[in-house]
Symmetry: C3
Subunit: 349 residues, 3 copies
């Protein structure tokens, strides 16, 4: 899609300086943008790029005083960064709105209920009794199992798999190849050393405004529900085991894993590659540093922890630093041993 400088100025309530007829069709960073691209300048430390950028159109602050002539067309607004963000969001909405209707071949069981303005791509599979809300976008290769419901405005990217009986809220985004509702890892050891599967008949509930990255796995509950609460954000390649709860607006970075039945409070921040054992509680506002291993409940809200096993952030960092100094500690100890030995010997003599 092509937009002219004048069209864009209208969208963000800005004022054009230069050629208003010039058109752009994509976005770029000011230092990398090419002809036909739109960029912005908000941080004064990048001002030099304004005079050399190849971008066709630059959004700048109303207050900026030019030190040199600029080749690009300019749009002046009160706050260049906000105006740019507004444009990005409008652009992405526009892209999503273009997706519409049922492509063929797709598989939609006769009992499926579809909302209005829904996109079902080719090779998507909707099983019996699936209920899809309004404005939902279902990309190619998505599988939706029996009795699943998906709320209004949610987006299921290519290859997302949702097993039977799971519930996906409104305004949820799930990225490619993520799996919701695979069986929990439950096996009962038998007398002969083999394992017998414990049936996993619960489900997964993903509440509203949740975003989940790509290649993440969220297992269904053994019984009851694994729950990802409103506003939580999960990155890529994360493991959420059966019967876990992730609280409102909690953020989990890539490759972290949460073991079975652990309950994480709201507004927690969990770093990349963190591991959390099963059957514990993590208080609201807990911050867990990347690669930490959490082995015990964290009861005090807003605690920061690090290390494996994880404990209090500050003292853990101090121990880590001393750990690096162990060769020196070892030497100090050996020196002392010699001195004391010497004192003892002299005393005896």
């Amino acid at each position: 899609m092509q937009f002219s400088a004048v069209q864009i100025a209208l969208l963000i309530n800005g004022r054009v300086e230069g050629n208003g007829e010039i058109t752009v069709n994509s976005f770029g960073k000011i230092e990398e943008a090419a002809a036909g691209q739109l960029t912005f300048l908000a941080n004064p430390k990048y001002e030099d790029y304004l005079y050399t950028t190849q971008a066709s159109l630059v959004i700048i602050n109303e207050s900026l005083e030019l030190r040199q002539p600029v080749e690009a067309t300019l749009i002046r607004v009160a706050d260049a960064y906000s105006a740019f963000a507004v444009l990005l969001n409008k652009y992405q909405e526009l892209m999503q709105q273009q997706l519409n209707g049922i492509q063929q071949p797709s598989f939609i069981a006769p009992s499926v209920k579809l909302g209005e303005n829904v996109y079902v791509a080719a090779f998507a599979y909707l099983s019996d009794n699936v209920v899809i809300g309004n404005n939902v976008k279902i990309y190619p290769g998505v599988f939706i199992g029996p009795n699943v419901s998906v709320g209004d405005n949610s987006i299921l990217h290519p290859g997302v798999k949702i097993y039977n009986d799971c519930v996906i809220g409104k305004n949820v985004t799930i990225h490619a190849s993520t799996v919701i509702g695979s069986d929990g890892f439950g096996f009962a050891p038998q007398a002969d050393g083999s394992y017998k599967k414990v049936p996993q008949i619960g489900n997964v509930v993903v509440e509203d405004y949740v975003e989940i990255g790509s290649n993440t796995s969220i297992d269904r509950a053994t019984i009851g529900s694994t729950i990802i609460k409103t506003g939580a954000k999960l990155d890529n390649l994360i493991q959420i085991a059966h019967n876990v709860e992730v609280g409102n607006n909690t953020v989990i970075a890539a490759q972290a894993g949460v073991s079975g039945s652990t309950k994480i409070g709201s507004h927690a921040q969990i770093g990349g590659q963190v591991g959390i054992v099963g059957h514990i509680q993590i208080a609201n506002g807990t911050r867990i540093n990347a690669q930490s291993g959490v082995t015990k409940s964290i009861k005090q809200p807003n605690t920061a922890v690090t290390g494996s096993p994880a404990y209090d952030y500050t003292s853990s960092l101090r121990s880590q630093a001393l750990s690096r100094n162990l060769p020196e500690i070892d030497k100090r100890l050996a020196d002392l041993e010699k001195l004391v030995q010497q004192l003892l010997t002299e005393k005896v003599l």
Copy 2:
């Protein structure tokens, strides 16, 4: 599916108390179940829930003496937990048996051999010379490469990808988006600093009664086979490199990774996020704690290890505890240094 209390009592050899005509269509936990659901009470500590549950039907022990009236219909059996597990298994079998026949559009090469009572979903792809056993269930979006065989009663969940020449045993379950037989990570460094691919022409053999979680990767052997032996259970997001062997009834938790050519014995238990280097042996019955990094062969069966690098569980925990005390150790050392210095000074004086 709706079942009446009388029908269920018949299945588990139980005795109905209350309205035998009441019907249920799903399962719940006693404290969360709603009308129309079936639950059970086995643990006496949850008995209070029996008098408040919204479930329509509760399985209880023959021996339980009620302290208050119960609204739900009851089924009394010798062992409520076992009876409930029996029901769950029957229910899941029933669900699987409903899946049957070849949906369109699917892609089945003319040379494919299909067993009896097979389910091939829409968008499944079966390449040349694939052999599928009886009662196999192939969900949407599954890819099966040339010359792959899949044994009786196995289930391939949506989006499973199996590369050419791999062998899948009987009664195997593989969860969504898991990849079996991708190329091993083998590249030979060249004089110019680039890497040349080492062709990976082996395969993966998954033996009988193996279960594999979602988003897991099992690479094919460079030559020969990567082998997952009978009864092994692998969780989600696991990496199994080329030429690895995983022994009978070994259990591997989520996000663990095993490097090339390592052989793991039988009945081992490997925790989440564990890493194991290549070309080592792990003895039968080894237990590896979550997040450990195993860098050497473990030769003694039934050893427990932890840490990164991993060693003996008990002494490793002791070192970890002391590691936390390093600030205190550092202080004790400084105090001693002062005292000894004082003694030396006094002696000189």
Copy 3:
């Protein structure tokens, strides 16, 4: 495919000893190969297997003197290992060349441009304005978003998902279920404790001769490009965050993760399960040991680091060893404390 001993000898410029009419259709290790298989003997320590192998055909060195009669047909060449590798590569090329044409049902938007000799499998999805080079192989269930280009000779294995506007170079191989171009993990905290999505409008550029394993996630840039440079090799289940750069011929092992905006130089070697924080620089030729956590820029080329947090390899190993000895250090310290106390007491007395 069946090949006779004479046909194979011709391909590798070898000399047949024994039955030249015998045919083989696959490869095996000398100690495991079965009738109908081809193998080789290069390492003299495996010579005993030559006299017992079940393989039908064995490639051996011209110089090898037999100590016993051999049942298999032999092909003698100057260097058995090289000849075998040549055969493997030819075989794999042959297998790929057989894949050709457009299978149905596939989805190819009218605006897509296809090169010559392209394979598009059933259930592959090519969106608007996709450009596919010559000899590209697109397996079942692949999704290619709008405006993506894929260079000559590249292979996209089953279920690969490439989001809009990404650029895939020539001779690139991407394994099953890997996701290229999912949204970066960018959310701005709001005053009410919720998070607002930062639009991710950049792309991913994968340069020539890159190979990427299965179930890996490479996020698109917030703005600009996430870049995987020429000749880099990435294993399975890797996380590459938004705006990361991976240098030429850098190798990353399975389950490693690189956080946003970090730039990794060329010829680096990054071990399995390594985590690297965001916004740092990793110098050319850096070697990072498995499970390490890198928290600071590494500026000196060709440095080796280990540990979490990672530092200099040699001193880190020394600290790790002492860490194991902490119980002993603790005991030495306690002994010294007693001795010094004794000296002090005696002095006072």
